[in-house]
Amino acid sequence: MKELMLGNKALARGLYEAGCSVVSSYPGTPSTEVTEEAAKYDEIYCEWAPNEKVAMEVAFGASLAGKRSFCGMKHVGLNVAADPLFTCSYTGVNAGMVICVADDAGMHSSQNEQDSRHHAIAAKVPMLEPADSAEALEFAKKAYELSEQFDTPVIIKMCTRIAHSQSVVETGSRVVPETVPYEKNIAKYVMMPGNAIRRHPIVEERTRKLTEYAESCEFNRVEMGGTKLGIITSSTSYQYAKEVFGESASILKLGMVNPLPVKLILDFAAKVEKLVVVEELDPIIENHCRQLGLTVSGKDVLPVCGEFFPNMIAEKLGGPVPEYNTLDEALPGRPPVMCAGCPHRGLFYTLSKNKCTVLGDIGCYTLGAVAPLSAMEMTLCMGASVSAIHGFNKALGKESEGKTVAVIGDSTFMHSGMTGLANIAYNQSNSTVIILDNSITGMTGHQQNPTTGYNIKGDPAGKIDLESLCRAMGFNRVVVVDPYDLAACDKAVKEELAAEEPSVIISRRPCALLKYVKHNPPLHVDSDKCVGCKSCMRLGCPAISVKNKKAVIDSTQCVGCGVCEQLCKFGAL
């Protein structure tokens, strides 16, 4: 049956049809839905792991045991999982193992736009790159065959536009291969120097064979059209090139982007007058062409930064660009904001009021950096807040200890914050760490994590107690506050910053968007009492605005959290 399917959902369907049995992932936009959709199939064991490294090692363990396995992550997640990736390239697999990495050119929801193809090249692992949902489904299935044929993990690279666009797919049925018997094989699976030395040449030989395979594999295809222009491309860039040039140009579409073919490219280049590589981010295919001695255009006209769009390709490569009308008006932007009733708001207001130096982390609460709160001064990667505050305080000592805090969400803390906290406990900096516990992984759309007490299917699961964990690490000062209570937040922040030892503040209240959270009736402004002082506006709540010099509350957005009420000196709320 033909149906419209999200790229990520189609990839999950491919896992299902290929008989994948074990899935372990960490959520990250734009990869999250692959695992969420896979979890809807009862035949597949699915879980959220605490981080991507754990997820990949779980998938490796399942492959070793003889079942087809999968792990999914966003581009920066693959950095976390790089350690197992580089060495399971050496060990190879038992049953097929597939990894999905979703890149985010344009940084719709990411802290950088690194090109994951570098990881595939560096780890010497084949990488497939689908260009629509039908290919995502098909490539997922074929990736398992490739993995087993060449004894290697296989990476499928998605990007935001393929992951989050729906296109037509035809589904098939699930075929579960026989479990591959697990056999003890120390020389293959114990990567100590004596064994790894023998595995490395096997990896090099595998790459040679894969390059040969790439010359004629079904993932790569030539679509001959006009021969004045020849385009080598992949993924969403292929779709834009077809959109702009149709049959007027010839296209070599690469579905396998590592290793790259040689003869296929040379033959294609010989058939066209001008050769252009259209690839987002880094010039990887282009550099490969140059190494082959070809005269090729690419990043000399197309940008390295950001994602591509059809008009950009048309403009740079001489295709038709449509005209359009413009509005001569400066429009105010609409940046994302913390939701009305967001439990992070009260805590960030407190940090802003106390003029704290805030080292931040990855999650919804990164929006604490946005005006008017502007209460975050650093965000690097998952867990960095907790490690960096230790370095910051070691560098400045008393100068910074009394006013600097790290803020990190519950899921991010489980992902990479615990090791940083262990360092504070061990090497003893007088640091104050605030865990923003909203009882869910928020930004990626509400995934469970080890502190929530529920698993990926919403069933009861193990629950890590944050207070006990911090105390067990050696923290004597662990306090819990309700971020809707501004006085309690202020007291806790002041006391823990003043303390002469490291401390943890847990700011705990579930995300206001969770279905089980009961909201209070919306607040109203008593316009007779409101003097228009705008104290309530300092919260940056999207439900509050000022009309005719009086505060107004949007009753469709307000969830009655009451934080603004605590700021009003005139009892107008």
Partner: protein, 189 residues
């Protein structure tokens, strides 16, 4: 010939149901279809855009400037923000609701006045209506998305019954009546 519809609004306004409905309907009508959504950070009250493309064969999942046959906007300022994406001769179908973005809330900027007139003066055909009031009349403020779909349906050759059937197939059973009412009010026949 590929047709392009952009659905724009503010994160959380329900544009995903609108694109789901369109995708379902157009696939049933026998077209190749692509629908592109935005997930993640932009959903937190930011400006959001969904692309729906259909025709004999669709390549690009996104719509670029000067290509949209229709811009369906859940909010007035967002219609203006994406006006450059409208094809010459295209049409904007807009809910006249105003939702203040953070720079307006903080007083750093003012909500622009007379946007409908300004868009028309700049050459766009604009069909503006108060969808929020109609949605509330249908039974829920959240039905703005289907009111807009009702309005959009006036410009398509696809019979109303097909749209209504798609609504039945895309929304949970207990909300079907409400959404059919919203569709009817939006279509305004």
């Amino acid at each position: 010939m590929t047709k392009n519809i952009m659905i724009v609004g503010v994160g959380g306004q329900g544009s995903l149901l609108a694109s789901k409905l369109l995708g379902h309907l157009l696939l049933t009508e026998g077209y190749d279809v692509k629908v592109s959504e935005v997930h993640g950070m932009s959903q937190r009250g930011g400006s959001v855009v969904t692309y729906v493309r259909f025709g004999e064969k669709v390549y690009s999942p996104v719509i670029d400037k000067g290509q949209a046959d229709f811009i369906v906007s859940f909010e007035k300022l967002e219609a203006a923000r994406y006006m450059e994406y409208l094809k010459k001769g295209g049409r904007i179908v807009v809910n006249t609701q105003e939702i203040d973005p953070m720079p307006v809330i903080t007083g750093a900027a003012a909500y622009p006045e007379n946007l409908i007139e300004k868009m028309e003066a700049a050459g766009a055909a604009v069909d503006a209506m108060d969808c929020l009031t109609l949605a509330e009349a249908a039974g829920s403020a959240k039905a703005v998305n289907i009111v807009l779909m009702g309005r959009l349906s006036r410009y398509f050759d696809i019979p109303a019954e097909k749209w209504q059937q798609a609504i039945r197939e895309c929304v949970p059973p207990k909300f079907v009546e409400l959404n059919l009412k919203a569709f009817e009010l939006g279509r305004g026949e």
